[in-house]
């Protein structure tokens, strides 16, 4: 890439500029993260100890720990993924594959997704409250919260999965069809495995969105800090806890930072588990033997 050799050329300058820009951008992202986490860690880490991780909150969160909040968060996330992942895969297949002959239907679904992606969380909260808590009678519960979040994360999951499916080379699809594979088999053995990295990215983004959500959960999963015993219990998510401590509990901000620290660690664990699970090429192996 560098100049001075036998086949040097001035144009290489552009490549170096590109390189610099690209490194700067990446460095910028890392810097933003370091600011946010650094700040949070510095204020929060001193509060984190074993007791913090193993007891329930008391005194509006200023004392005690956050174990019930962590459990609620994980339960909400589980509900969200259970509902959203199959729905997202189905819709992505619809958009990428089936809908060629039904472009009007596809356009409607695509509009729906664009709008859903931009609906403010408060509107989702009121919607989830009306639909799940009241009409379906689930009340303030982890189930209501998880289902509401599922609606919120659908756009990002579907769009990424759709793109991943679309970017599978047409030649592969042709070759699979030429072997007489049915559409189901083609999807399962050829397109899904090839689309796994894109879908993993969508999954990670969706998990992130779900863990970050506050307003929609206040109205659906609720505010209770008890240890939940079933998905029908109300339960407070980590992000709601952070919000409450930072905004409504005087002197709550160290605890807010500590909770945010735990949330970040949890994110790292979950997303790396999710992507390593998908990347372990199990899906590739499946069709080998």
């Amino acid at each position: 890439m560098s100049e001075g050799g036998a086949f040097s050329r001035p144009g290489a300058r552009f490549d170096r500029i590109l390189g610099a820009v690209v490194w700067l951008a990446a460095g910028g992202i890392a810097a933003v993260l370091i600011w946010i986490t650094g700040d949070t860690l510095q204020r929060g880490l001193s509060e984190v100890d074993i007791a913090f991780l193993t007891t329930e909150p008391t005194d509006a969160g200023r004392r005690g720990g956050i174990v019930s909040v962590v459990v609620s968060t994980l339960m909400i996330l589980a509900v969200t993924l259970t509902a959203a992942v199959p729905l997202a895969l189905g819709t992505a297949v619809f958009l990428a594959d089936v809908s060629a002959r039904w472009s009007a239907a596809a356009a409607v679904v695509r509009w729906s997704l664009d709008v859903l992606a931009a609906v403010p969380s408060i509107v989702f909260g009121l919607f989830g409250n009306a639909l799940f808590c009241v009409v379906l009678g689930l009340g303030y519960s982890i189930l209501s919260g998880g289902l509401t979040l599922a609606c919120m994360v659908l756009p990002v999951m579907i769009r990424t999965a759709e793109q991943a499916l679309r970017s599978v080379p047409a030649e592969l699809r042709m070759n699979a069809a030429a072997l007489g594979l049915r559409r189901t088999a083609r999807l399962w053995h050829i397109e899904f495995p090839a689309a796994v990295p894109g879908m993993a990215a969508g999954l990670v983004l969706g998990i992130g969105r779900a863990l970050a959500e506050t307003a929609a959960l206040i109205f659906t999963a609720g505010y209770a800090t008890r240890m939940p015993t079933s998905v029908m219990d109300s339960g407070r998510a980590l992000s709601v806890h952070v919000y409450e401590l930072a905004m409504n509990v005087p002197m709550g901000d160290r605890r807010a930072a500590a909770t945010a620290t735990i949330l970040m660690i949890l994110v790292l664990c979950i997303t790396s588990a999710a992507s390593s699970l998908l990347h372990r090429r199990r899906i590739f192996r499946r069709s080998e033997a």
Binding site: T58, D59, Y223, S234, E244, N248, V249, P250, D253
Partner: protein, 265 residues
Amino acid sequence: HQERTIAAAAGDAGSGTVRGELTITGSSTMAPLVAEIARRFMARHPAVRIDVQSGGSGKGIQDVRSGIADIGMSSRALQAVESDLEVFPVAVDGVALIVHRSNPVSELTPEQVVAIFTGKIRNWSAIGGPDQPISVVHKAEGRATLEVFLTHFQLRNPDVRPDVIVGDNEHAVRTVAGAPGAIGYVSIGTATADVQSGVPIRLLPLDGIPADCEAVAAGRFPMSRPLILVVRHDRRPLTDVFLRFCRSEQVDDIITAQYFVPAAR
């Protein structure tokens, strides 16, 4: 003696225990307080389950009306159209002016406050402070503290010339703490707590009365808002038991710990 009364009120005199479930929604300001009260109540009556949810005063009132919640929490007085509900004050929250800690101004007359908030005084030097422009931190319309403030100083909101508009109390505190020339008004409870934890703000006395919880408790502090529980007339007995608990001395320490002042009984 009191235990027996409660049991009787709950309609469960035979076993001597109170049982049932309560749902409480509403003001996010009150939610931490009521959640703590509910926790103590549940500790005394293990057969009772109380779910406290937040979501805003409006939501609380609406939920009580529609029967989704047994009790609503509101950090503002009810309006005339909401007179179908019954009100139980639990605590009082004073509202005080705050400035940055480095600001030497020790007290403002009502006229000065009005002049500052209507943009007639734009520099602290005009009222004996340093030569620094005044940044007026005002609450967003609809906030209870805003109503209290406007009513007390007999201001009309369109006349106020804010430099910054904020929402929650913490938001106002953060804004003033970040700008040495700022002035704002917040809940005394929040501000006191923040001062204790080292946030660089100072509460200004009003009409010569210091802005602290004692003054509010004594009913001397002129600017305050009620924190109330609202219920329907056709409520269940358990609701009454809990309301009575909320208004008893047994929760005074909780109210104080949340930097509010118990309501007059």
